[in-house]
């Protein structure tokens, strides 16, 4: 069954949404949309460096994405607004990544596959990595769930309760770097943030509690993966963008549901 590239693509996409649902919910609640973008864009630099130094692409992406996240966190609050800091870093990471990739003469890097993803080319080993990565993120979030949620509601209440909001934020940053690393093959660096934000934003309308919103975001994401793949097959459109377009259609449909 796993020989079929479509089955593999669907399984990889659904596996990814296990992680992007809950993580995307936190990205929405904590207003980290642009932060997610910056981390995802940095992945291109990670890809170029991995090929340059001949190391695993996943390791390179996680390292650069984490470096980016920590740079953002330390730069913001030093006189620059978060918005401007991210504006500088998100685009420069992409630019430097594309420049670095152009130096790789030995190995030809198929840039469009990394920018837009190539879910139909997902192999068995990729499938294993996607699921392991997604389950790791899910486990990390489940472990820190109560503390993360308290810090999201209010840093002050978290500190008064003896928690360390900075450490919880770091857990989220690590989860984001992991998701970027496993998602880049599926939807590509440019559209990872969309898979985080659109399903979670759509789920907000239907959810009564945080756990419900996270689970619904995963469900909506999984539906978008299946619908996007089907559309891609039928209309011969690129798979990654089709998945994001399907997610946006679900968002629009749910927005039409009258508020309870």
């Amino acid at each position: 069954m796993l020989d079929d590239f479509l089955i593999r693509a669907a399984l990889a996409g659904v596996g990814l949404t296990l992680a992007t649902g809950p993580l995307g919910a936190f990205v929405v609640w904590r207003r980290m949309a642009y932060f997610g973008d910056a981390t995802a864009h940095a992945a291109i630099l990670g890809v170029a460096l991995s090929f340059g130094f001949g190391i695993s692409v996943y390791v390179g992406i996680i390292a650069v994405a984490l470096g980016m996240a920590i740079t953002v966190a330390s730069l913001a609050g030093r006189g620059h607004t978060m918005d401007a800091t991210l504006g500088v870093l998100a685009h420069s990471a992409l630019a430097f990544g594309l420049v670095a990739a152009s130096f790789l003469t030995e190995v030809r890097v198929d840039l469009s596959a990394w920018l837009f993803g190539d879910i139909l080319a997902v192999g068995r080993s990729d499938l294993v990595i996607v699921w392991l990565g997604a389950l790791a993120v899910l486990a990390l979030l489940a472990w820190r769930w109560q503390a993360l949620l308290t810090a999201t509601v209010s840093d002050e209440l978290a500190v008064a309760a003896g928690l360390n909001p900075r450490r919880e934020g770091l857990a989220l940053t690590l989860a984001l770097a992991l998701v970027v690393a496993v998602a880049i093959k599926i939807v590509g660096a440019l559209l990872i943030a969309a898979m985080l934000i659109i399903p979670a934003a759509a789920a907000r309308r239907l959810a009564r509690g945080p756990e419900g919103m996270a689970a619904l975001a995963s469900l909506i994401g999984a539906l978008a993966v299946l619908a996007g793949l089907a559309a891609s097959l039928r209309f011969d459109t690129p798979a990654g963008p089709s998945i994001v377009a399907a997610a946006t259609s679900l968002f629009a449909l749910i927005a039409l549901v009258p508020r309870r």
């Binding site: 949620l149 999201t152 509601v153 209440l157 008064a160 945080p210």
Partner: protein
């Protein structure tokens, strides 16, 4: 050992002294009210005592294992986060249904479990915050201007609730009040703050004398008391300059000495129009 103690505590905001050389301690079961004019550093002090402010000098020490129930002055919860009252009360520790409804009933907002946090009025939210603080079984309750926006009977009822909670649980209460003169009668100590501790002492319980009853209204049930400020120094030179080391402020207290503190006369406590809670 004090539950929380501070020695020589100083806090800067943008290079300006907000608090200078504060020595403070609060003991188990004690009720302490902090009063002071706007910008006197009341919130900064309680935030520093919790560990929410970077201090430039001095130390804050918590008793090991101290549990703090904190009710902040304001709390904005992002509308993208769906949260019912019951779920909010389970942060950061899961508690059972019975415990949740008991805490809500205790703070006078029973039956709100399934209500969305965003649908609460200001007064309800304040009481939900207090219920959440109680669920952590605190050694000390810290409340930053919890009576803001309440009318006088509302303030009196809230103070009675705090006094009852202290009696029932034995927790200490540290309260910030925006009213300089009319304070919680159960306060063991009132601290007047203006960048430094100006004076401190016990409040005078409001008597049943007709002039007081006229001032404080009926039905406050003895929950309110007057605090008589005893300042031995003048604040005019301090305004806008922060702490001035040339003018030490730790003179001995002299109750007979008239002082020119800008707020040394009792005023009617409800100088803001009451609005529905």
């Amino acid at each position: 050992m004090h539950l929380i103690s501070a020695t020589g505590l100083s806090v800067h905001h943008g290079g300006v002294d907000v608090l200078a050389d504060i020595d403070f301690g609060i003991d188990r079961g004690e009720i302490v009210t902090i009063v002071g004019p706007n910008g006197s550093g009341k919130s900064t002090l309680v935030r520093a005592l919790i560990g929410l402010e970077r201090t430039v000098r001095g130390d804050v020490t918590h008793q090991p294992g101290l549990r703090i129930g904190y009710v902040p002055q304001r709390l904005h919860i992002d509308a993208t986060l769906p949260l019912t009252v019951a779920r909010f009360l389970c942060l950061p520790r899961w508690v059972g249904r019975a415990e949740i409804s008991a805490a809500l009933a205790r703070t006078g907002v029973e039956g709100l479990e399934r209500r969305a946090i965003s649908a609460l009025s200001g007064g309800q939210f304040q009481r939900v915050l207090l219920a959440r603080a109680l669920l952590s079984r605190p050694d000390i309750l810290i409340l930053d201007e919890p009576t803001q926006g309440l009318d006088q009977p509302g303030i009196a009822a809230f103070y009675r609730l705090l006094a009852d909670l202290r009696r029932e649980t034995g927790c200490a209460v540290l309260l910030v009040s925006h009213d300089l003169h009319v304070v919680m009668a159960a306060s063991d100590r009132v601290i007047c703050l203006n960048g430094h501790i100006c004076c401190q002492g016990a409040p005078r319980v409001v008597s049943a004398a007709p002039e007081y009853r006229a001032l404080f209204g009926l039905g406050t049930g003895g929950a309110l008391a007057l605090y008589q400020h005893v300042h031995d120094h003048d604040h005019e030179h301090d305004v806008g300059h922060g702490h001035d080391p040339e003018h030490p402020h730790s003179h001995p207290h002299d109750p007979e000495h008239p002082h020119s503190h800008p707020h040394d006369h009792p005023h009617p406590p409800s100088d803001e129009p009451p609005h529905a809670g």
